[in-house]
Each structure stands twice: as structure tokens, then as C-alpha cells.
């Protein structure tokens, strides 16, 4: 991980760590904080705790997003301090979820924009002049448009991949596929490195092909406190606990000092959470396979 981040994530990059609730790569975010990357444009539908931590650590110059909260709990307070504070240091570029999804879809298809039926009557286009309109050449109706998003680097956490980066994901898929295809560089972080034969045994499960992947990192538990379906559950206690930690910038600094700067890697981070793996390891509920014979 250390090598992949130092090699593929540079100061000033547009960085995407995607995953909707599921498969959010906290391990990569922490490594970026440890390597003290600066002036990043952080892009994600839901900044979530990981970008709250990266904002608090001073990695971010700008945030491109659609919903910035702690799901089911409350606020991202480091984000709020950066926005509500006098002379807010954090630049914002804001869309709705559909708008962000459409930006990734355009980027992945190498189209300069994506049309969508959205935003009529809302204040969002006033807050973000990049939300524009286009007229349909057949019906004459006006549609909203968003510009393509083509990040410098996207980090995708996944259940498994082979050494070439052929990546399989099940459970919630978010916009992982679109983000990977839209990106100039792609780092895939997996719970498990598998033989190519495992991938070839069920090709319909492959979401991202190796030809778009720059590096594969094996990092078990790399998504905690997010989750990896079939490997470990979401650590909802930590999401609740984050409310109090992030509310107090001193406590947040202590958290980063102990759990991010204070550890050399993910293994050490997990070691600092006794009982965590017992508490969250997924139970087994394996589905049946399908017949690829002919």
C-alpha cells in the first residue's frame, strides 16, 4: 500500500476513494494522510468518515460531492468546520447523487458530459455553474447536463482480484466500475488475492478488468470501519463514536495521532482494535454457483 500510494497519488491530484457504504478503502485514505499528500481534490458521492479524516489532516484543497454526512448518525464535523468557519479553506463543488453518478458515467464513457432529467426548480445550478442544460435534437426538451469527471487516481476496494487486477465485487456496487474506467490511474485494494483461474471460473462477477488497473494491493480489513460483504460487517459502533470524536478537533487530532500517524500500516491498525475481528467477521452464507458448461 505504501508503495502504491507513493507511486500513484501525487500532491494536487483529483483523488477518488469510492464505495457506497460498502468497500470504502480507509486503509488507502490513512496511507495518504501518513504520506502527507496536500492540495488534493477529493471526489466522492458521500465523503463519509474517511474524507472527514483527510480534511482534518489537511490533505484536501477541494471537495466534489453530493451528500456529506455521517449516515444515520449526524454530521462530518471536520468538514463542517472547514465550510462554516470564517474564510472557509475548503472549496466545494456540489451535485446530487444522480449528478455525481452521471459525472462518473460520462468520464467512463469518455464523453464530455452526461444528460439527465434533474435540477429543474432547484437552487443547485445557482450554487454550481457547472450544472448546465442542453436541448434535445429530437424533442426540443431541455435537459440538465453535468461535466465528465476523469480523476487522476481512483482507489477501489474489492473482495478479490488476481495479480493482473481483474477484480470481482458482489453486494453493493456503487459507482466503482464507472470511477475505475473514468480514472487515469486505478489502485485496486483487495481482501484476497486469488489465482486467475478463480476469476475465469465466473467471469460475470468481474466488475473491473485488469487492463485499466495500475496496481493491486492486498490489504485484509482495509475497508474497516466500512465493510466487505462476505468478509466482515460494517463497524456501526465506530460510525456512532465518530460523532463525538469529530465534533472536537483536539480529540480528532488525538485519533489521527494514535490510529493513523501512530501506526505504520493496516495490520498495526487492526492490532490496536482487540476483539474487532471476532466482533465483525462475516458468518458464512455461500450461494450456489451457476453452470458455465456448453
Amino acid at each position: 500500500m505504501q508503495e502504491a500510494i507513493s507511486r500513484y497519488v501525487r500532491d494536487g491530484d483529483a483523488v477518488v476513494i469510492e464505495g457506497f457504504t460498502h468497500l470504502i478503502c480507509f486503509a488507502a485514505g490513512h496511507e495518504i494522510i501518513r504520506q502527507r499528500r496536500r492540495d488534493l481534490t477529493l471526489c466522492r458521492l458521500t465523503p463519509d468518515l474517511i474524507y472527514d479524516q483527510m480534511i482534518a489532516a489537511g490533505c484536501a484543497r477541494k471537495l466534489v460531492f453530493s451528500w456529506a454526512g455521517n449516515p444515520g448518525v449526524g454530521s462530518l464535523h471536520a468538514f463542517r468546520r472547514a465550510v462554516e468557519g470564517p474564510g472557509s479553506p475548503l472549496e466545494l463543488e456540489e451535485y446530487s447523487h444522480f449528478g455525481m453518478v452521471a459525472r462518473f458515467s460520462a468520464g467512463a464513457a469518455r464523453l464530455p458530459f452526461w444528460p439527465l432529467r434533474d435540477y429543474a426548480g432547484t437552487d443547485l445550478p445557482k450554487a454550481n455553474p457547472l450544472i448546465r442544460t442542453i436541448t434535445c435534437p429530437y424533442t426540443g426538451v431541455r435537459l440538465a447536463t453535468v461535466p465528465a469527471l476523469n480523476p487522476d487516481v481512483t482507489i477501489v476496494h474489492a473482495q478479490r482480484a488476481d495479480a493482473e487486477g481483474n477484480t470481482q465485487i458482489w453486494g453493493l456496487l456503487g459507482v466503482q466500475k464507472e470511477a475505475a474506467f473514468a480514472s487515469k490511474r486505478v489502485i485496486v485494494v483487495v481482501e484476497e488475492l486469488v489465482d486467475t483461474a478463480v476469476i475465469r471460473a465466473d467471469p460475470n462477477r468481474t466488475l473491473i478488468p485488469g487492463i485499466v488497473v495500475s496496481a493491486v494491493v492486498v490489504e485484509p480489513w482495509g475497508a474497516h470501519p466500512s465493510y466487505a460483504h462476505g468478509y466482515y460487517d460494517r463497524d456501526n459502533h465506530f460510525y456512532v463514536a465518530w460523532e463525538a470524536i469529530s465534533r472536537d478537533s483536539a480529540r480528532l487530532a488525538d485519533y489521527l495521532a494514535e490510529y493513523v500517524y501512530g501506526v505504520p500500516n493496516r495490520a498495526a491498525y487492526i492490532a490496536k482494535h482487540p476483539g474487532l475481528t471476532d466482533r465483525l467477521t462475516a458468518r458464512s452464507q455461500v450461494c450456489a454457483g451457476v453452470n458455465y458448461g456448453f
Binding site: V101, F104, K126, L172, K177
Partner: protein, 247 residues
């Protein structure tokens, strides 16, 4: 009571775009009572979810395991929502105004907000495309201003322009379910009016919770309290740990 009232609004077999919290409780209450065939769709990509535990996030693995389908978010927004397949959408927000517009973005000025809220998420497009939306919010004059500070999700009249002129496919917020009463959109003007009171609530108590001159529908109903069965399901089965039920 809010969850019970919301549940009663759902017809069996309807396709519902569900949020976390009270809407999720309401949907599961409806499934456990009069609407077993409700199809729950979450913006995270779970379709026909049948959660084995109360989901604490919209991306809870319990929404995936045992669901009918999982798809990427591009499909959720394009093939389901924009395609017009969602019949009911649930919305909430820090501010709901006289015309059913919702603000989940900022309190105060956008550039220098007093309070920075999470933002739209999927709310803006749900408000546009769901055949009808149900809004859930607790009464409070600050939460029910004449006009929202920021218009995140369109209601029946946006900055003076009637909804139909904006070309929005859905009917918009037909009902606002509060902690004391249900407000409805006036069919003609689209203004929210007092439509039904919860047991023992007086109209003044509702008017005190909104910052405009709240009109009352010609026929003001009084809603029956939650049945013993509804309360038992909510308290013992659906939310035993009181994650979302305050009382």
C-alpha cells in the same frame, strides 16, 4: 405515530424508494401488516430488500443479502428512478416550506452558511421523479419557513414557478407527515394545508409549528391512534433497541 401514519399511506405492491430511519420503519411496518408485497428500493442499489435486521445505514449488508436484485447506482438513478418505476419516495429535511420545497443543503447563505447540512444526496431527483413523495418532519417554525433558504428538492411551486411548468414528471409531496398532524398539498395552488390531526392535538398546536398562515382543509380529519398491533410490531419487532422510536 409518524411511522404508523406513513405506513398507512402505502398500498400493497407499490414500489417505494426508501430512506433510512423512520421511512424504513414505516415501510417495514406496512410490509408486516397490510402491504406484504411492497417492493423496497434503496439508492444504494438493493432492490426488493427483505432485511433480516433493522438497517442502520442505507448501505447495510442486511439490505443486500436476501434481496431480489442488486444493481449499480447508475442503474438505480437511470433505469429505476428516471425511468419512472418508483411510485413512492420518502423525503425529510431541515426545512420544508409552504409549497413543499425542501432544504437539506444549508441554513443561511450558501457561500457563508450558518449551518452546513449534508446536501441533496438522492433527494433532488426523488422529488422530481417519484410518482408521489411523502415528507416526514417534526413541526417547528424554523423547520417550516415560508420559503426555504436553499431549494434542494422541488415541491409544488419553486421560486414562484408552478411545478407543472418545470416539467417535473412526479406529482411531488402529496403529504407532509409531522409529529402532530398531516399536511396536504392543496390540489389547486399546491400550498400545504392542515388535513388531519393526531388524537388529542388542537389545530393551534399545529399552526404554532409553521411560520406561515397555515390554512385548514375544508374537511379536517382526526387520525386514529396506532393500533396495539402496530405499536407491538414497532416496539418489539422492528425497532426493539429504539434506534428510531423516541417514545
Amino acid at each position: 405515530m409518524m411511522a404508523a401514519v406513513a405506513a398507512r399511506e402505502l398500498a400493497d405492491g407499490e414500489v417505494v424508494f426508501v430512506g433510512i430511519g423512520l421511512p424504513n420503519l414505516a415501510c417495514n411496518l406496512a410490509r408486516a401488516t397490510h402491504a406484504p408485497n411492497l417492493v423496497l428500493i434503496y439508492e444504494s442499489g438493493a432492490v426488493g430488500a427483505s432485511p433480516s435486521r433493522l438497517p442502520v445505514s442505507i448501505g447495510d449488508p442486511a439490505l443486500v443479502t436476501g434481496s431480489l436484485m442488486v444493481c449499480g447506482m447508475a442503474d438505480v438513478f437511470q433505469l429505476f428512478l428516471q425511468n419512472g418505476r418508483i411510485e413512492v419516495g420518502f423525503l425529510g429535511g431541515a426545512q420544508v416550506d409552504r409549497w413543499g420545497n425542501i432544504n437539506t443543503t444549508v441554513i443561511g447563505d450558501y457561500a457563508r452558511p450558518k449551518v452546513r447540512l449534508p446536501g441533496s444526496g438522492g433527494a433532488s431527483e426523488i422529488a422530481a421523479h417519484a410518482h408521489r413523495t411523502l415528507v416526514m418532519a417534526k413541526l417547528d417554525p424554523r423547520a417550516f419557513p415560508e420559503h426555504v433558504d436553499f431549494l434542494t428538492s422541488p415541491g409544488h411551486r419553486c421560486r414562484g414557478i408552478p411545478r407543472r411548468e418545470l416539467g417535473l414528471p412526479g406529482a411531488g409531496p402529496v403529504k407532509v407527515i409531522t409529529d402532530k398532524a398531516v399536511l396536504e398539498a392543496d390540489p389547486k395552488k399546491g400550498e400545504l394545508v392542515l388535513a388531519a390531526l393526531y388524537p388529542g392535538v388542537r389545530p393551534e398546536a399545529v399552526r404554532a409549528g409553521v411560520s406561515w398562515e397555515l390554512r385548514t382543509r375544508t374537511t379536517l380529519l382526526e387520525l386514529p391512534p396506532p393500533t396495539a398491533r402496530e405499536l407491538q410490531l414497532l416496539r418489539e419487532v422492528l425497532d426493539p433497541r429504539k434506534l428510531y422510536l423516541k417514545s
